[in-house]
């Protein structure tokens, strides 16, 4: 059963549309759970308020981590995989029944794990390092979720096969779907590793296995824990290309290079998981250096290619639409009133300048030691997963509401402000956490003043200022997320129906016209911005080496 979309002209499989809707709704619910916990955690770590007791602090660290990093992201990605493999390719869903089985497994996993955490039977944090032991149902919940997600990924490949057999696309997959295929392959690696570690841990929690070696657990767990975030990176970048296409009719100025960058992700990005073990004595330096440097840099190269390719696709299209004056008219005349566009641009800035730069510095064996196990590490991944992935997912939702849920966006003025507010909040939160970590503040610590303990530590007085800034950033980001959730809920359940292109509040641009003449660089403005980024990166890079040199004074 299909409907023809009166806005895009796409043939939409109704069973696929229903599955996309349900997965997206569960993603939003997971995000709500995650941010409520996040606010309570921020208000606890900020010492003048210190809201929660130690027990609930660690309980909610577990709850927040699982809902934010696993449930929200993967539910949304599954919705994206179904969208990219059926709607975009004008083809049918290979097995709707299996899609529902996958969804039910994932939803039951979410409920089971969350209930067990809130009952206080799994205060093990997201990493659940052995010998910390949770209730067996906690592990079972995660296993059910992972099995469901794995079925969903298999269905994505099934849809691709049908599309290929039916010649639904040309020679190669569209770039957006190609990026999603990258995300799906990384998901297979991630979920298989998850099974490899969670199944023995589940059996251990039941008493059927005597011991799970902590070093081995950590090695394998990070193959899941970090790689799962690389699914986000691939999905996020795919959406960047998609929004360029939808908002200004832009395409990559060199698709071959963009596709090669995705292939580099497939081949090398999962090896970067090794940087979580940089201070572990069990693995050799050769293993650490190969995985976190040589191999990881190939994945970093891929990100830098995308970081140039996406803005240059915007610039190239804008110039072809006639915004040619100087270096940056294309940017000043960009569709800033389109919340999906502003979300993506802000996500690219935050992901590159905050998440990307710190990712490379913290991922190196030498400079990692300055911040290992400090609050700078979650500060770094607030710059990748939250400013990058979450803001991108929020942005594309503004297109999904009219196209998939067939509703107008309620409170569109708020939707225009929301990405900026979210960006400011998370940027403040993330940068403050990174600075706090550089000043030695530990992560996952209920009371970093060590009050009442046998040992105390006097931090640099600047710490107080950055704690306040972090709290402020957290509150702003929480408010922005709640605004987004309210917009989504009101639009989806109470919004006026979309009856055709006249009801679209966001532009769907036709493909930008071909260039009339071509002289010099195709995207000079982006080139300048790229050099600015490289200068900032070099400054941060050398600053960290300077700090490292100052840590141990050598006579």
């Amino acid at each position: 059963m299909f409907r023809i979309c009166d806005i895009t002209g796409f043939k939409v499989d109704l069973s696929s549309e229903k599955l996309i809707r349900y997965n997206a709704v569960f993603a939003v619910v997971s995000l709500l759970l995650a941010v409520v916990a996040a606010l309570l955690l921020v208000l606890t770590r900020y010492q003048p308020i210190h809201l929660l007791g130690a027990e609930w602090y660690y309980r909610l660290v577990t709850f927040h981590g699982l809902n934010a990093l696993i449930f929200w992201i993967i539910f949304f990605e599954i919705a994206g995989l179904y969208f990219g493999s059926t709607v975009v390719l004008n083809t049918r869903f290979c097995s709707p029944k299996a899609g529902w089985v996958a969804f039910i497994l994932m939803a039951s996993g979410l409920v089971m794990s969350n209930v067990i955490i809130l009952m206080g039977k799994a205060d093990v944090m997201l990493t659940s390092y052995t010998p910390l032991k949770a209730h067996p149902l906690y592990y079972l919940g995660i296993i059910l979720f992972a099995v469901g997600a794995l079925i969903a990924v298999a269905l994505f490949f099934g849809n691709l096969m049908i599309a290929r057999r039916e010649n639904a696309y040309g020679d190669s997959l569209p770039l957006f779907t190609y990026g999603l295929m990258t995300a799906a392959i990384i998901a297979v690696i991630t979920l298989a590793t998850g099974a490899l570690i969670y199944i023995p841990t589940f059996l251990w929690s039941l008493g059927l296995v005597e011991n799970v070696d902590p070093a081995m657990y950590k090695l394998i767990w990070w193959g899941l824990g970090h790689s799962s975030q690389q699914i986000n990176v691939a999905a996020m970048v795919s959406i960047w290309y998609m929004v360029s296409f939808l908002a200004v009719g832009g395409t990559s100025i060199n698709e071959k290079v963009s596709r090669s960058a995705f292939v580099l992700y497939i081949l090398f990005i999962c090896l970067a998981s090794a940087h979580h073990l940089l201070t572990d004595p069990g693995v050799s330096s050769a293993w650490k250096v190969w995985n976190t440097s040589y191999a990881m840099y190939l994945a970093v190269l891929a990100s830098m290619i995308h970081a140039f390719a996406v803005p240059s696709s915007f610039e190239s299209a804008q110039r072809r639409w006639g915004y040619n004056k100087g270096l940056f008219e294309w940017l000043s005349k960009a569709p800033w009133g389109n919340p999906a566009f502003s979300s993506v641009i802000l996500a690219i800035i935050g992901f590159g300048f905050i998440g990307g730069t710190t990712g490379v510095v913290f991922g190196m064996e030498q400079t990692n030691i300055i911040v290992h196990n400090t609050i700078a590490i979650p500060g770094h991944f607030k710059g990748t997963v939250v400013i990058g992935t979450t803001l991108t997912f929020m942005g594309i939702t503004y297109y999904l509401i009219p196209l998939i849920f067939r509703r107008k966006i309620v409170g569109f003025k708020w939707a225009k402000v929301q990405p900026w507010l979210f960006f400011i909040g998370i940027a403040l939160l993330s940068i403050s956490m990174i600075v706090l970590g550089q000043l030695g503040v530990p992560r996952r610590h209920w009371d970093s003043t060590f009050s009442g303990g046998p040992f105390t530590h006097n931090f640099n007085p600047a710490v107080d200022f950055f704690w306040a800034l972090m709290m402020l950033g957290g509150v702003i980001a929480f408010t922005a997320t709640i605004i987004w959730i309210l917009i989504v809920v009101f639009s989806v359940f109470l919004g006026p129906k979309v009856n055709g292109p006249q009801d679209m509040q966001l532009t769907i641009s036709p493909l930008a016209p071909p260039a009339k003449s071509h002289k010099g660089f195709e995207a000079p403005g982006t080139l300048i911005l790229t050099f600015v980024f490289l200068l900032v990166f070099l400054a941060i890079f050398f600053l960290n080496w300077k700090w490292l040199a100052a840590t141990w004074y050598v006579k």
Binding site: D171, I266, L267, G282
Partner: protein, 61 residues
Amino acid sequence: MENESKREKENVPFYRMIMDDFMLLMFLGVTIYAIFYLLWGVMELSNIPTIPEELKETLIK
């Protein structure tokens, strides 16, 4: 018609054949990760000598 599409397939450059074959890409991705991250790591951890029983007991005490 069939011959035409056959000829088109034959003309596909090698790099694109690899880039468009998602099963091959999946195989390569899984293999590189399994060898360099998992197997190499597991091998190194497995080769750590076990703590002598006497020392272990002293430490536990």
